[in-house]
Point group: C2
Chain length 340, copies 2
């Protein structure tokens, strides 16, 4: 995926126009989808308008009902193997599966999460699967804005199961929770919470706690963990979904318990569709999304304005030299801003 | 301090005008300073212009050279007692000391940090001291924007030592590091890092690690901690300041080691003023500050516009009802934005 980036940013010729993007995405062309996500992730001024129109089109294009599922857990919890196994099972059931992996370190490591080409090899071969690292990096909007936009594009391309993977130790989990319908926490048998660096707050967000690697010598400790987590969960208040979280063991290696995972997830979806939480939650998320999108677009439009750019550079120079106080400099620029 | 807030937001009469603020701050009137910080923290549209002009004036008013010092450590590390002792010592030396306490939980607890009136009683009585909880809350700009603005106002009122206190376990420490000249980490004798919830990243930011409560039975373990931290620090790369961090023990109770604290801090300031890092660091911080101030002002100006407010509410309603996609809604609003 990474090789697409330089193409788009260096030569205009390789960048499809808006209609090209629409046509490609509509027929589920994965190369076009990948290029569209790259476009949306880019911050080049020249692309601003296409980006905006493409997203607006994608957000309004008719789609199959989709399920958005967040999957988190520390490195080594076996998330990738699990996603591969679960993804293949869904494809067999007739779904189209998109996996968006958020790597908070991607700025530095150029996407180390998926840099390892051996991950999800089998799933990657499937026509009905799409795997993509989502550049979190230090974009204006951070993790959520760009990931949400990638979700919209995947859904417009006909993907109806969206798996959003994070390396579960920080802020990005909270962001992800706010954009998914279901939150899956993957833990490893036998390791205590503290060892796994999972905060209580993240455990509380989970709709399903999956204790992975419950195979061989680990089975006993996996079952012990299950008892322990069940006890802990019993003390949590019922979540807004009205559905108590579940705890289960599985092994992505021996496939023990794997067939139950989707059963649990789809059982959850049935419950929250019946009690209307699915819909209420999506609508609440839409409101947050709009606010976030507005903030990002506002800042983007401002900073990509040629006049602002030129003046900003001059003012930054004055601030850097100590000739102008930062507040005074900001005030000078803000005067160019008008609401029509 | 909290009682000022309702006054300002409810009745216009209690709010001084711009000239009133300037005159009061110029002569170091602490009540006026407190009101000015409240004004700056408020997000009322009506105050937008006064706020802006006041900050611009404060940022450009002639001031004594100041030292900005961040102080962090978990609850129970004895930060308040330490700040009181250190503050009183500085006042004796002829300084004017402002203490800004950032309470990340202030939104919920209405400023629990300083809600306890027994904190810093002696320092609070001093004419040359100013103590103020800084509302972090969920303002548009978060911790840094408002705290930076409070710093500017304190400096304009003649305070030349600014102590910024945080409850050291999260994101706000990184923000504070980015606005101070010196970063002091307060730990307790005998408790391991993990017990104190202090992340390695925060330890690495410290210019001085102070092991407090080194009194009575704790003296031995405080000394052991000192050895341990000195060893850890030996492995860190030299920080950008060019000055290796130090580790010291002290007791705010018996005053053991307290006289060394300012000696260490002023020794640091001498070194970084000689090697020019003090100046370089302030200028880099000014650039960040300008960008941050610009973002905040832009969002504030946009959302406080009457036309935007009205339309935003209508669009949010459509999004909430599912009639409009969040991206499409954001696009509609962004069209009102113009750069002149």
């Amino acid at each position: 995926m990474k090789s697409i980036n330089p193409d788009i940013s260096r030569s205009k010729s390789s960048l499809p126009n808006l209609d090209g993007f629409k046509a490609g995405i509509e027929k589920g062309d994965k190369t076009m989808l990948a290029k569209a996500i790259t476009l949306v992730e880019s911050t080049r001024t020249a692309n601003f308008d296409t980006r905006r129109k493409l997203l607006e089109w994608a957000s309004q294009s008719p789609k199959k009902p989709s399920y958005r599922i967040g999957i988190t857990g520390v490195p080594g919890a076996g998330k990738s193997t699990l996603i591969e196994v679960l993804g293949l099972e869904l494809i067999e059931k007739g779904h189209k599966v998109a996996v968006l992996a958020i790597d908070p370190s991607s700025q530095k490591t150029h996407g180390s999460i998926l840099g390892d080409k051996t991950r999800m090899v089998e799933l990657g071969k499937e026509q009905r699967a799409f795997i993509r690292p989502s550049a979190a990096g230090k974009t204006l909007g951070g993790v959520t804005a760009k990931t949400r936009e990638a979700v919209v594009l995947c859904e417009a391309a006909g993907f109806d199961i969206i798996l959003i993977e994070t390396v579960g130790v920080g802020q990005s989990e909270i962001s992800v929770k706010q954009m998914v319908d279901f939150f899956l926490l993957v833990l490893v048998a036998g390791a205590g919470d503290e060892l796994q660096g999972i905060k209580r707050g993240i455990v509380e967000m989970a709709d399903l706690i999956l204790i992975n690697k419950a195979d061989g010598e680990n089975i006993k400790s996996a079952n012990a963990s299950k008892v322990e987590y069940n006890r802990a969960i019993g003390l949590f208040p019922t979540p807004p979904s009205g559905v108590k979280p579940r705890v289960a063991t599985c092994s992505a290696l021996t496939l023990q318990g794997i067939d139950n995972v989707w059963k649990f997830i789809f059982d959850y979806f049935q419950k929250v569709q019946n009690n209307n939480f699915f819909d209420v939650n999506r609508k609440n998320q839409a409101v947050d999304w709009m606010k976030e999108s507005l903030n990002n677009q506002l800042l983007e439009a401002f900073y990509h304005n040629q006049k602002i750019k030129a003046e900003l550079n001059k003012l930054l120079e004055s601030v850097r030299k100590g000739h102008l106080h930062p507040i005074a400099a900001a005030n000078k620029l803000i005067d160019h801003f008008k609401v029509m």
